[in-house]
């Protein structure tokens, strides 16, 4: 049992414990105490110093030091500054931001107020996708309740500090998670990124200094203030402090949301917390960082998870998606799946991402269709490298990662697809064949009757065979066969 307590919940500390629609429950668990502490006893500089000392880094994926980001915004002179909460969670399979906003919205509000105090902002904006109606509703309730107690509004805690928050809705474009695209979207412009510099800390929303942090990053702030930076920075590794929330998904027994200290190994997350691979199958790979990340293999299972180790291993932390794959998953198809996503989600602004990802997808498609050539493998790598090297924003700079990491970690799979027209995992339909094992076939004709395209022939009570040219690989015959005579080859 003790072995299972590998999780430490900081960002998720209140999720599942309190009623998110009742501010009193948040207050009963020391809610808004951190804001009070900061306003009554600390200066903005001291607070920023504390955040810097805590070692907290951006949880949205980039891992930029949070305290430093605040300091950069603070240093710019301007009449109006903004703090923004990035709740445009877009990684397929990641939902930690939604969970926090649905389960503990006040922790984000409190942290935004602290951030505003530190950076010199008087206005906060939460950019949230309209597909999160419950999170929006609970956030609205929370904002109303916070205003009633005076945690938002004028002269908070009787100080000179005034601050309030508005909600801005996104249409759910993945690229709007990129902070400059997010700001464009909030301004009513096309949601596409701009070239940095200038960074939002200099020129952000409406051209004013703007500090953008992710939901999970914010959720850590009140705890750091109350427990102290020295408490926080004892958790984690040398360069990655605290915890990270992961959405554990795929072929593990216990899919779910987990919050683990930095430095934990993938093995502990997948096997101890996740309860191992489903149906006793063999672990093959894990994709971290969503479509921007890479896939890691058995060789990485004992690597401590932190920002830098994941990058060195060819993946990234990302916002915390963690998809586990087993022996039935084809790595080429997996890369194709993610490319399909990035092709859809590219904003179209820069050429390498707009056209390159499409061509990358087409090459992968060709390979999974069994039509790839050696030259295609070479093209694939060159194209992936160039897209990474030349794209304008983080989306394009990372979109080839699933391709490059699978090519590096599973070169034999790519080669098998190209040279032998074989998909080990049996996932690429065009490469698989349903074959009737002559000795096992009793000639019962059940398969003949279910085949929708009349691809199976043979005399009654004699071994049957499948015409591969006609077969559409629907698998109905295999399902129907009572003798296990049909297999995939």
């Amino acid at each position: 049992m003790a072995k299972l307590k590998k999780q430490i919940r900081i960002a998720l500390r209140n999720c599942g414990f309190i009623n998110p629609e009742n501010i009193d429950e948040y207050i009963a668990r020391d809610g808004y105490m951190a804001l009070g502490k900061v306003l009554e006893t600390m200066s903005p500089e001291e607070t920023i110093e504390e955040i810097k000392k805590s070692g907290l880094r951006g949880r949205g994926g980039g891992g930029f030091p949070t305290g430093l980001k605040w300091e950069l915004t603070r240093k710019v002179d301007a009449e109006q500054k903004y703090v923004v909460c990035n709740a445009d969670e877009g990684d397929p399979g990641a939902f930690m931001d939604r969970s926090i906003l649905e389960g503990d919205p006040h922790s984000v509000i409190e942290a935004m107020a602290i951030n505003a105090f530190c950076t010199g902002a008087s206005k906060g904006l939460v950019y949230i996708r309209a597909e999160y109606p419950l999170a929006i509703e609970r956030l609205k309730i929370a904002l109303k309740q916070a205003r009633e107690y005076g945690f938002l509004g004028n002269n908070i805690f009787g100080s000179n500090f005034s601050f309030d928050i508005e909600i801005r809705y996104g249409a759910g474009a993945f690229v709007c998670g990129e902070e400059t695209a997010l700001i464009h979207s909030m301004e009513g412009l096309r949601g596409e990124p701009g070239v940095k510099p200038p960074f939002p800390s200099e020129k952000g929303y409406q051209g004013m200094p703007t500090n953008v942090n992710n939901v999970e990053t914010y959720a850590n702030i009140p705890v750091i203030i109350l427990e102290g930076a020295d408490w926080f920075n004892k958790i984690g590794t040398e360069k990655s402090k605290g915890t990270k929330v992961f959405a554990l998904a795929g072929k593990v027994n216990n899919v779910g949301l987990v919050e683990v200290p930095m430095g934990i190994t993938l093995r502990e997350v997948i096997f101890d917390i996740g309860g191992g691979i489903k149906d006793g199958k063999k672990f093959k790979a894990v994709q971290t960082g969503g479509p921007s990340g890479g896939c890691l293999t058995e060789a990485h299972l004992d690597t401590p998870i932190d920002y830098d180790n994941l990058i060195n291993a060819g993946s990234m932390m990302g916002s915390g998606g963690m998809i586990v794959m087993d022996e039935d998953d084809c790595m080429v198809s997996m890369a194709k799946f993610y490319l399909d996503f990035t092709v859809e989600e590219s904003c179209g602004k820069c050429a390498p991402c707009r056209i390159g990802n499409k061509r990358l997808y087409e090459l992968l498609d060709k390979i999974t269709e069994g039509k790839g050539t050696d030259e295609d493998l070479f093209k694939l790598r060159n194209l992936a490298t160039v897209i990474k090297d030349t794209s304008l924003c983080g989306l394009g700079q990372t979109s080839p990662n699933p391709v490059l990491s699978t090519m590096d970690n599973f070169p034999e799979e790519y080669e098998a697809h190209v040279k032998d027209s074989k998909c080990f995992a049996g996932q690429c339909k065009a490469l698989m064949q349903y074959i009737i094992e002559e000795d096992a076939c009793t000639g019962c004709t059940l398969c003949v009757r279910v085949c929708p395209v009349d691809a199976i022939s043979g005399e009654r009570k004699m071994a049957h065979f499948i015409n591969q040219d006609t077969c559409i690989k629907c698998g109905a015959c295999m399902e129907k066969c009572k003798f296990g005579a049909i297999y995939i080859g």
Binding site: R9, I27, D30, I100, G150, F157, E227, V255, V258
Partner: protein, 124 residues
């Protein structure tokens, strides 16, 4: 609602709220994980069922909605605490399972299999 003007105010309020919460601990408390995913798997039905059934049986209890507990594989999930006992988590709580929990765990005070072990620590 009163406006909080100082940390002192806030501490007073917190302490008041805490003691009120402690009072609640003298009764049965059911927390239903009601985030989007929980609701999609039927948590609203489960919650309504607990409210009605506990009321029907005149059991002194509070049923509270909370956010996600993180056990996606076992939604709907609830956390149940009885006076004097550590809270426990049940997964896959549809109305049938809810009835079973009320009858056996709450009313008859029997042990139930299928409790999800708590697998994390929290800061507070």
């Amino acid at each position: 609602m009163m406006k909080i003007d100082s940390v002192k105010d806030l501490k007073n309020l917190r302490d008041k709220l805490k003691s009120a919460e402690n009072l609640k601990k003298a009764t049965v408390m059911v927390k239903v994980s009601m985030s989007t995913c929980g609701i999609a798997s039927g948590a609203r039905e489960t919650m309504d069922y607990f409210i009605n059934e506990l009321d029907n049986k005149a059991i002194d209890a509070s049923v509270i909605k909370t956010g996600c507990m993180g056990y996606c594989y076992a939604e709907p999930t609830i956390e149940l605490s009885k006076p004097g006992k550590e809270p426990v988590i049940f997964g896959y709580v549809d109305t049938k399972r809810a009835q079973e929990i009320i009858d056996k765990y709450i009313v008859a005070d029997e042990e139930l299999v299928g409790i999800i072990p708590l697998n994390f620590e929290t800061v507070n």
